[in-house]
């Protein structure tokens, strides 16, 4: 596996408060990597070290290639126009003077803000501000993008647009996103790292994490009778939520595949004329995340 970012034994303390206790992290190249953890787990500290805002007490990181970043709590200068802000940043990113204007057009187009180049930054809405933040990260066509809570504080429409935008960014590029929104991470990331109290507790593909303990959830249109329940229990260990009319079945996928379990349960339900409203397989990222942090 080629890595875009590799962190080894990263430590950082703020006085007596330990923020990172020897963090190890490997981000595979050309993936969208979700960096998860509770408040104060060490996500922003990690990003701040990578961005050069703070220095680590110990440990190393290796990030070959150019980096773009949307830091948390970063602000643009008040009163300046978007294009003049981006001009300075493009030059600092090493964009040739003759290509600065076209580069600014390119990144503004990428965030759907082509018509807003002359707008002063302080006149922008929160959603626009985030987009400019992403636009500046794209300057100079970096190989790896680090986004620290890119949808924090955004309304659902703007958050959806930013998520969609991020999904379009990882062509031949690695994207690392820190977020508290687990549904968002599950939707857009293919790898996750879960950090707790300054240490990595899980790292790997999202698919692997959510299928570790296979589950099937059948939402039924009515409660089956006891006879049917007994028969279903015979297929596998099943639990019932009468209130939600939900049949929850956990099984060992090494003994019974998802497809086989699905077919057996459906056959039984159809035989007993019990309607099925929805079927979900696998665990949610939220469920696994809480499990990893021992919070469930």
């Amino acid at each position: 596996m080629t890595t875009a970012l590799s962190i080894t034994g990263l430590k950082k303390s703020y006085g007596r408060k330990v923020a990172l206790k020897g963090l190890n992290m490997k981000v595979p190249k050309n993936t969208v990597y979700g960096f998860l953890g509770e408040n104060g787990a060490g996500k922003t500290t990690t990003f701040s070290i990578l961005g050069g805002f703070i220095s680590a007490n110990a440990g190393t990181f290796d990030m070959p290639g150019k980096m773009g970043m949307l830091p948390q709590d970063a602000r643009f200068g008040v009163g300046r126009r978007i294009d003049s802000q981006l001009k300075i940043l493009a030059k600092l990113s090493g964009v040739e003077s003759s290509k600065v204007d076209s580069e600014i057009k390119r990144v503004l187009k990428a965030v759907n803000m082509e018509g807003s180049a002359k707008v002063p930054v302080n006149k922008c809405s929160h959603g626009m501000y985030k987009r400019i933040g992403i636009a500046q990260a794209l300057l100079g066509d970096p190989d790896i993008l680090l986004f620290d809570e890119p949808t924090a504080g955004l309304d659902p429409k703007n958050a959806h647009d930013i998520r969609h935008l991020i999904q379009t960014l990882n062509h031949n590029r690695t994207v690392v996103i820190s977020s508290h929104n687990l549904a968002e991470i599950e939707q857009i990331c293919d790898h996750v790292g879960i950090i707790s109290k300054g240490e990595m507790v899980y790292e790997g593909p999202v698919e692997e994490l959510v299928s570790q303990n296979t589950e099937l959830n059948f939402k039924l249109s009515e409660m089956p009778n006891l006879k049917t329940i007994e028969k279903l229990k015979g297929i596998n260990k099943a639990s019932w939520s009468e209130e939600e009319k939900c049949c929850h079945i956990e099984f060992n996928h090494e003994v019974l595949t998802t497809e086989a379990a699905n077919a057996l349960i459906l056959e039984q339900l159809l035989k007993d004329k019990i309607g099925v409203r929805s079927i979900n397989s696998g665990n949610s990222l939220e469920h696994e995340y809480l499990k990893k942090l021992n919070l469930d």
Binding site: S48, L50, F53, P71, D73, A74, R75, F76, L89
Partner: protein, 179 residues
């Protein structure tokens, strides 16, 4: 000019680094370039501002005839004026470097202003006991206006020394600190 300008410098420079740190604007620069580049380019622009302000003031003084040099032609008057300006600017550079150092040290711009003002007062107090230690020693200032003498050279060297000291300390602080 020399007595009024330090207050102006204080007002111009106290937030040069501290304000950007406080606002978080630095975060868009730091992952793109080195701290050395940020610090020294800001420092150079701050000194250039001071040089331009004082040069403008000197030229205005020349134009309005504050330098009564009847036996010299215009070019010679300008030459002397520039020499005075170059000598007179050295304590201002030292003062700028000190304000800049505090601006790189603290996060809240107002604190940089307070620390700079407190240092000026402190240096004034020191001057009573150890005059040679204070960058605001009036003997050094006076020396700047005795052109072509060892006194002037000493004064210029002392102020350039203070400039180097404050700017280097400021840089070391800026390089090491968490932003």
């Amino acid at each position: 000019m020399l007595l009024g300008t330090p207050a102006l410098i204080l007002m111009i420079h106290y937030d040069k680094l501290a304000q950007e740190n406080y606002d978080g604007t630095f975060r868009y620069y730091l992952f793109r370039t080195s701290r050395a580049k940020i610090y020294w380019s800001k420092f150079a622009s701050a000194l250039a501002e001071i040089a331009l302000i004082t040069l403008t003031a000197t030229l205005i003084a020349v134009l309005y005839g504050h330098f009564k040099l009847d036996n010299f032609d215009t070019l010679k008057v300008l030459g002397y004026s520039l020499k005075y300006w170059l000598a007179g600017i050295t304590p201002l550079l030292a003062f700028s470097s000190m304000v800049f150092m505090f601006s790189s040290w603290v996060k809240r711009p107002f604190l940089a202003l307070l620390l700079s003002a407190a240092t000026v007062i402190g240096a004034g107090v020191i001057m009573n006991w150890y005059p040679w230690m204070s960058p605001f020693n009036l003997d050094y200032w006076k020396g700047l206006f005795v052109p072509g003498t060892q006194l002037m050279l000493n004064s210029v060297l002392i102020y350039l020394g203070y400039t180097a000291l404050f700017s280097t300390l400021g840089f070391l602080i800026f390089k090491k600190r968490d932003l």
